[in-house]
C-alpha cells in the first residue's frame, strides 16, 4: 500500500510540475469554464493578440456562479500582478448593477472593449402586446423594453410591474440553445440576439415572411452618452418606435433604469481590463490597436465571434465613464425593484456604486 501511495504522489507531482513549467508572459483571466461564449472569444482574441506582443498569452479559467468569482478574484488578488488581463462580458456588467460583487469597473484601466447592439425579433402572427419571451437575468433589458412599449409613458413603477405581469409570458430557465429552438418551434413568440446570431437565427424567418425585426436597443455613443439608431435596422430603435406609438419620447425613472441596464450589458459586451498603473497597459493597447487594423486578424475574429465595434484604449475608459453616469439612485432603485417584483430575481440595491455627487 505504501508503494501505491508513493507512486500516486510521484505521478501527481510530475503532472503538477509539467503544468507549472510553462510560465506565460501574459495571463488572460476568463471568469467561466472552457467552451463558454466568452472563453471562445478570449481564446481567439488571445491567439491574434499574441502576434503583436512580445510574449505569449495563456488563458486562465476561473469559473464560478454566474461568472462572478473569477472577476472578484481579479479584483481582490490578481490585478496586482502586472501580467494579468481580465476578460469580462455583458453579464458581469449586469451583475455589477444588481448583485453583491467585489469588482468595480472604476478601479481598472480599459485595454479595449467591444460594444454591440441587441436586436429583438417577433413572429408575424404574434401579438406584440402579449409576447411569450425567454426570461432570466440576461434578458432584463428586453423586459424593460417590452414593458415600455406595451405599457406606454407616465406610469408608476407599480403600474409597470402589474402591466408587465399581465401582458408578458416570461418563460424562465431557458439556455440560449433552448431559446432558439423554442423560437423556431413557435413556442416563444419573441426572441433577441446579438447581431451575428440575429442574422443566423432570426433573419431567415424574417426573409421567409414568418417573422419581423421587432426593435433594438441602439448603439451607445460613449462621447455623448446617448444611444443611436443601428444602420443595419434603421428606424427600429426602441426610442424611435416608442415615440411613434405613444407620441412622446420615453423618459422618467423607468426609462432611465432601462438605459442603465442595457448600457451595462451591451456597452461592456466583451472587455479587457488591467489594474490602474499597470506598466504593460500601453503595450497591450498598442497591440490591440494594431490587431484592429489588420484585416486578416479581424477576419479571424469575425469568423468566430461576429463583427462588433471595438473601442480601444482611452475610448474604452470613456465608455466606462459614460456608463457610470447612468448609475443614479432612482434608476438603480427602479431596476432592482422591477427585477424583484416583476421578474422574480433576487437583486440587491447597492448604494455604494452610485457616484457620490448623484
Amino acid at each position: 500500500m505504501k508503494k501505491f501511495i508513493l507512486v500516486v504522489a510521484l505521478a501527481m507531482f510530475t503532472m503538477l510540475s509539467f503544468a507549472r513549467t510553462d510560465v506565460p508572459n501574459y495571463v488572460m483571466v476568463v471568469p467561466q469554464k472552457p467552451g463558454g461564449g466568452t472563453s471562445v472569444w478570449a481564446q481567439i482574441v488571445a491567439t491574434e493578440l499574441e502576434k503583436y506582443l512580445d510574449g505569449s498569452i495563456t488563458i486562465k479559467h476561473i469559473p464560478g456562479a454566474r461568472d462572478i468569482p473569477g472577476f472578484n478574484k481579479f479584483h481582490n488578488e490578481l490585478q496586482h500582478e502586472d501580467n494579468v488581463i481580465m476578460v469580462s462580458h455583458g453579464g458581469n456588467g449586469v451583475a455589477f448593477l444588481q448583485e453583491n460583487v467585489d469588482y468595480n469597473y472604476a478601479d481598472y484601466e480599459s485595454v479595449g472593449l467591444m460594444n454591440l447592439n441587441i436586436i429583438m425579433g417577433i413572429h408575424n402572427d404574434a401579438d406584440e402586446n402579449n409576447p411569450k419571451f425567454a426570461g432570466g437575468s440576461g434578458m432584463v433589458p428586453e423586459a424593460f423594453a417590452m414593458a415600455l412599449m406595451i405599457c406606454g409613458p407616465d406610469k408608476s413603477l407599480a403600474q409597470y410591474i402589474r402591466c408587465f405581469q399581465r401582458h408578458v409570458i416570461w418563460v424562465r430557465g431557458m439556455s440560449s440553445g433552448e431559446r432558439r429552438l423554442a423560437w423556431k418551434r413557435g413556442e416563444l413568440t419573441g426572441t433577441r440576439e446579438n447581431p451575428a446570431a440575429f442574422k443566423k437565427h432570426v433573419m431567415p424567418a424574417v426573409e421567409e415572411g414568418r417573422a419581423r425585426v421587432w426593435m433594438h436597443h441602439g448603439i451607445l455613443n460613449a462621447s455623448e452618452g446617448t444611444h443611436s439608431d443601428d444602420p443595419n435596422y434603421p428606424g427600429l430603435q426602441l426610442e424611435i418606435l416608442f415615440e411613434q406609438k405613444w407620441g412622446v419620447a420615453p423618459s422618467g425613472e423607468f426609462y432611465d433604469a432601462y438605459k442603465l441596464v442595457k448600457s451595462f450589458r451591451d456597452g461592456l459586451q466583451k472587455a479587457l481590463w488591467v489594474s490602474k498603473g499597470n506598466p504593460n497597459l500601453e503595450a497591450l493597447r498598442e497591440a490591440l490597436l494594431r490587431l484592429s487594423v489588420n484585416e486578416e486578424s479581424m477576419a479571424n475574429i469575425r469568423k468566430k465571434v461576429g463583427d462588433y465595434q471595438w473601442l480601444i484604449g482611452e475610448q474604452g475608459n470613456q465608455q466606462r465613464d459614460t456608463l457610470m453616469t447612468f448609475v443614479t439612485e432612482p434608476a438603480l432603485r427602479t431596476l432592482i425593484m422591477f427585477n424583484r417584483e416583476a421578474l422574480g430575481l433576487d437583486s440587491v440595491y447597492k448604494s455604494h456604486i452610485v457616484p457620490e455627487n448623484d
Partner: protein
Amino acid sequence: MLTPASACCIKTLMNEIIALLGGTLYGLLIGIIPGAGATTGLVAIFSFIHLFGGDPYLGVIFCMAVVAASTTGDTYTGVLLGIPGANSAAATMVDGFPLALKGKATYAISAAVTTSTVNGLLWGSLVFFLLPWYTQLLMIFGVPELWAFMVLALATVGFVSSNLWIRSLIAIAIGIILGMIGTDPYTNSDRWTLGWGYLGDGIQLIPMVAGLFAIPELIAGLKNRAETAPRNNKDHWKQTIDGMKATWEHKWLGLRGGFIGAFVGVLPGLGGAIGDWMAYGAAVAANPKEEFGNGNIKGVIGPEGSNNAQKATSMIPTVLFGIPGASFAAVIMALFMYLDFELGTVDLANDEKFFSSLTFGFMWATAIVGVMCLLLTQYIARIAYVPYKYYFPILVAIMIWVCMQYTGGWEDFAIFVFCSVLGLACKKYKFSRPALLIGFILAPRVEALTYQITALYDINTLITRPIFLVIMTATIGIFVWGAFRKNRINYS
C-alpha cells in the same frame, strides 16, 4: 503538383486519421485495463482535451473512437481475467471466462469481437448516417415532449435499471438534490450552497462521474485478483477462425442481442450493462436445454451483440436532446461542451461536419479495432496480464488531476473526495449509481422545463399533443410495471 487547397485537404485528412488512430489505441488500452472502460477513459480525456482547441472536430473523432474501441477492448479482461474492463463486458464474462480456463480464450474473444464489430457497424450506420435526419425531431419535440422525455428517463433508470427500485428512487432523489445545488434559475441567486461560494456554480459533472464510477471500480480492481486464465497461444489462428464461424453460425443470436442493445441505448438514461444482461437473458431463454455459465459460446455472442449497438444508439438522445443515453454519454456531453459543441441545439443540428466527425470516429474505430483484435489478439492479450498495480496509481492520479481542473483549489479535491465516498457507498449498499448520475444531470433541466411547461401550456393544450401523451403513458406504464413486477433481474 499539389494545389494549396488539396494540400490543405490532405493535411486535414491526415489529422483526422491521427485523431482516429490515437482514439482507437487509447480506447483499446483503456478498455483492456480492468475496472476502467469507456467512462473512466473519457473522464481522463479532460487532462488533454485542450490539445484539440485548434480543431474541435478532431476532438469529436477522438472521443467517438475511444467509445467504440473501449467497448470492444474490455472483452479481453472479461474473458482472460474474469474481470470486466467495464460493466459492458460483465455479461460476456459469465461464459467467456470459463471458456478461457478451458484454453479457448482466443475462440471466445474472436466470437465476441466479431459479433461486437458487426453490430457496432450495423447500428452505427443506422444511427450516425441518419442522425442529421433525426434532428428533425427537434422541431417536433416541444417543451412538453422534452419534459415528458426527461421524466421517462428518470422512470426507466429508476425502475428498470436495477432490481432494487426503492434504492434506485433514493439514488435518483440524492442525485436530484445534488444537481439542484447551485444557482436558482428563478431568482438567479445561490441555492443550497450552505454559504460556500464555490458551490454557487453547482457540483461539477467530472468529479461526480469520476467519484461515482471510476474510483469505486478502480478500487474494486485491486481486490479482484483471484484467478486468471493461463496464457495459451496454441491453435491461435484455428481458434480465431472458429470464433468467427461461431458468430456466423449463431448470427441471429448476435443480431437479436444487437437489437436489444440498440433499444435499450435509445431509451434516455438507461444505457450501461442492462442491455447486455437482457441480451444474455434472451440467449439463455432461447436455448432452454443448454447449460450456460460454464463456457457456452452462445453466452458470449448474445451479450456482445448488445454493447456496441447500445453505445451507438445512446448517442441519439444525447446528441438530439442533450439527454445522456448512458453514463459515458454524460461525459461525452461535458467533453463536447468543452469543445464548444452544445448538444440539442439548432446550431449543432445544422453542423454537418460535426455529424460526419461522429460517424467517422465511431465507424472507423469500430472497424479498425475489430480487425486489430482478430489479427493481434495474442499480442493485445499481453496488456491484460500486466499487473494491475501498475495501472492503478496512474489512473487514480489522472482522475485526481482531471477533477482538479475546475478551479485548481482544495475545493475541487474536497468535492472529488465527497463524490468518491458517495460512489463507494452506493456500490457497497447497491444504490444505483447510474440512477444517481442521471438524477444529478437531469435535475436542473427538469426544473427548468417545469417552469417552461407551466408558463407556456395548460392541461387543455397538453392533452392535444399526442407525442406527449404517448411518452407520459409509457412513463406511467414503467412506474406500474417497475413497482409491481415479480421476476426481477439483478443487473448490478
